[in-house]
Symmetry: C2
Subunit: 163 residues, 2 copies
C-alpha cells in the first residue's frame, strides 16, 4: 500500500501493532513458562490477558474507520522476540534467566509505549476522538506493565542481594 | 558465550547496546537527511552527536570492568531500523514522511530507554557505581531526546492543522 496521507500512515502503523499484539498473545505464555519466579510468571500471564483486550481494541479502531482489521509483519517485534528467546534458551541459571526475561519484556513494553503514544496523537489529529481514547487506554496499560516489571526487577535484586 | 551470572548477562546486554549505538551513529545521518522539516533534521543530527558520546561511555564501562569493548548483533535494532527505512523509502509526501520519521525515532529511543534502565540497575546490583552513573547519564539523554521528538511531533501537527 502506498502511504500518501497521515491517515494511510496511521492505518499502516495500526497494522504493525495489530500484528505485534497478536504475536504477543502467542509468545507471552512461553515467556511466562520460562520464568522461575512465580510472581514474574503470573505478571506475564496477567499481561497476556490484557494483550487479548489490546487486540480487540485495535479491531474496534479498524471498525470505527469502516475497515476490516489486517496486519503487517512487524520487523521490530520480530527482532525483540528473537532477543527474548535467546535469553530464555541460553541462560540456565534461574535467577539470571528471570532478570533477562524482565529486561526483554520491558523492551517489548517500550516498543508498544512508543507506538501507542504516536497512534493516539495521530488519531486526535485525524479527528478520531473515540479511537484516540481506546489507544490511550492501552497505552496506560502498557506503561503500568512496564512499571510492574521494574518493581519486580528491583524486588528480585533485593532477594539476590539477601541470598 | 554462555551466560551463567548476572555479570555475564550485563556484559552481553552491553555488547547489544554497543552494537546498536555504533549502528545508529551510521544510520541517523540518513534519517536526518530524509527529514524535510529543518528542526527535525537538526534534532536528529544533535542526537547523533550525543550518540557518539554514548558509544564512548559504553567503552568506558567495558574499560572499568577490565574488558575490551566488543559488540553483538542487536536483532531488535535491526528490526527497528528496517521499519524506519521503509518509512523513508515508501512515503513521498514530505509532512507525512516527517511524521513517520518522528515515530520511528521514538521507537529507537524507547528501546534504548528500556536497555539503559536495566543496565544501570544491574550495574548498581553488581557494585559498579561509576558504571551505573555513566549509564544513567545516557539514559537521561535518551529520555530527553524522546521528549524533544514528542514536542516536535506536536508542533508539526499544529502546522498541518493550520495549513
Amino acid at each position: 500500500m502506498a502511504i500518501k496521507s497521515l491517515e494511510d500512515l496511521f492505518v499502516e502503523t495500526l497494522k504493525d501493532i495489530y500484528y505485534a499484539e497478536k504475536k504477543l498473545v502467542k509468545s507471552l505464555p512461553k515467556m511466562s513458562k520460562a520464568a522461575s519466579d512465580e510472581k514474574l510468571s503470573e505478571l506475564i500471564m496477567e499481561h497476556c490477558a490484557e494483550t487479548e483486550e489490546h487486540v480487540k481494541r485495535i479491531e474496534r479502531v479498524f471498525d470505527l474507520m469502516g475497515k476490516k482489521p489486517s496486519s503487517k509483519k512487524c520487523e521490530a517485534l520480530e527482532g525483540l522476540l528473537k532477543e527474548a528467546n535467546s535469553v530464555i534458551d541460553e541462560i540456565e541459571d534461574e535467577t539470571v534467566c528471570d532478570a533477562g526475561i524482565v529486561s526483554s519484556a520491558q523492551t517489548v513494553e517500550h516498543y508498544e509505549i512508543a507506538r501507542y503514544g504516536t497512534l493516539a496523537a495521530w488519531a486526535r489529529e485525524l479527528g478520531m476522538e473515540e479511537a484516540a481514547e481506546l489507544l490511550d487506554t492501552t497505552l496506560d496499560e502498557e506503561k503500568a506493565a512496564d512499571q510492574k516489571l521494574s518493581a519486580l526487577g528491583e524486588s528480585e535484586e533485593n532477594q539476590r542481594a539477601a541470598a
